[in-house]
Symmetry: C2
Subunit: 222 residues, 2 copies
């Protein structure tokens, strides 16, 4: 890599932007927060970022110690965040809260996968109190599975299938976003299947805290 543009300022904000301020970089981090991903997974989730750009960004993220190659098993290589890279989750979360205020463009392109949803949920879940909750939920958004595992006061959200879930929650992407941005939820916008009695209530409690946090941006009011 030739040395890229840098602000060369002492300011910590500029130092951060030198690492993650390039176009696409924060969206790549967003998708990586959903769990390890292959090159092609990332390319799909980012709606057709040019392959050379994705390659460049992954090299830079690796050089800066935010991401690394890992063995995904079966001979495939995956990329995943390092401990340093994980620390961008708070930035990503604040961006999500801020961005939710704006109306989407007219001509939306739909992404090839919904890693983005898992990341937004993960970021929000880390900020709400789940101390009295415990369940495994499969969240099915437009047919794609997101695994929510709540236990011991910690929430783990990953873009992956959830084996043996307590509840299965199905919803469309547009409905989910709308609800988390303040639109009223109605029974026809989602379906909830309970496999372990009582866990549905816990799940709904969790979801209501998440959506309130995303709407208000402030854990204190959630």
């Amino acid at each position: 890599m030739a040395k890229p543009r840098s602000y060369k300022l002492l300011c910590p904000i500029a130092r951060a932007l030198d690492r993650i301020g390039d176009r696409w970089t924060l969206l790549i981090l967003r998708d990586l927060h959903a769990g390890p991903a292959r090159f092609t997974d990332l390319q799909k989730g980012l709606t057709g970022i040019a392959a050379n750009l994705l390659a460049d960004r992954l090299v830079k993220l690796t050089e800066d110690g935010l991401a690394e190659k890992s063995d995904g098993g079966h001979g495939v290589t995956t990329y995943r965040l390092t401990a340093l890279g994980e620390r961008t989750l708070d930035i990503v979360f604040e961006l999500a809260v801020f961005g939710a205020q704006f109306a989407p463009e007219e001509d939306i392109v739909t992404p090839g996968n919904l890693r983005t949803v898992a990341t937004t949920l993960r970021a929000a879940a880390r900020r709400v109190d789940v101390s009295e909750l415990g369940f495994d939920a499969a969240m099915v958004v437009d047919g794609e599975q997101i695994r929510l595992r709540i236990r011991d006061g910690k929430a783990d959200v990953t873009y992956a299938a959830c084996p043996d879930p307590d509840v299965v929650f199905s919803i469309g992407y547009a409905d989910l976003l709308g609800i988390s941005e303040g639109e009223p939820d109605t029974p026809d916008r989602h379906s909830l299947e309970t496999r372990t009695p009582g866990k549905d209530t816990e799940f709904l409690t969790f979801m209501s805290r998440i959506t309130r946090l995303l709407r208000d941006g402030d854990p204190a009011t959630a």
Copy 2:
């Protein structure tokens, strides 16, 4: 303005980046968080951003409702954040915490003013408990004045002179950053002048909370 690049994604993170993801934009917001600024103030604080870029960015920020022109008095026009623009402070703060972990470049360029310092302090101050504190402090960093006004549980930090301060705290920019990033403070790195007896202790309490927050990124431990 011709329509600029846009991710055109439904994802709230992408919607945020469509507004503030362009190069320089977040640094402009950073400087605006320190208070209303003239075109030239911004140009100085950003170490010589090209004038056309700054003009473009200000137009876009205005169109998107994040900033607006205002009358700075004496016939000068200034730019300031709107209520919507103010909401980027959490993003800027998370960037500062994240960026503080990285060593600065070898060949640093020094900015024409230290608005950046006021913003970082402002963002951090908003997250620490100041309920039992109350003072007006003039913070002099490399000769530039930052006003800290703490009262009624709220902290207001602005890049401006502070008339009649309770304490005057002087320090160099590099020292201030170093201390807030974990280096030990020593008496020779700063000077503290007390004009209202007792307020120096309050000020030092405040500063220790701020630096701990910036170092750890977590208010709970501060």
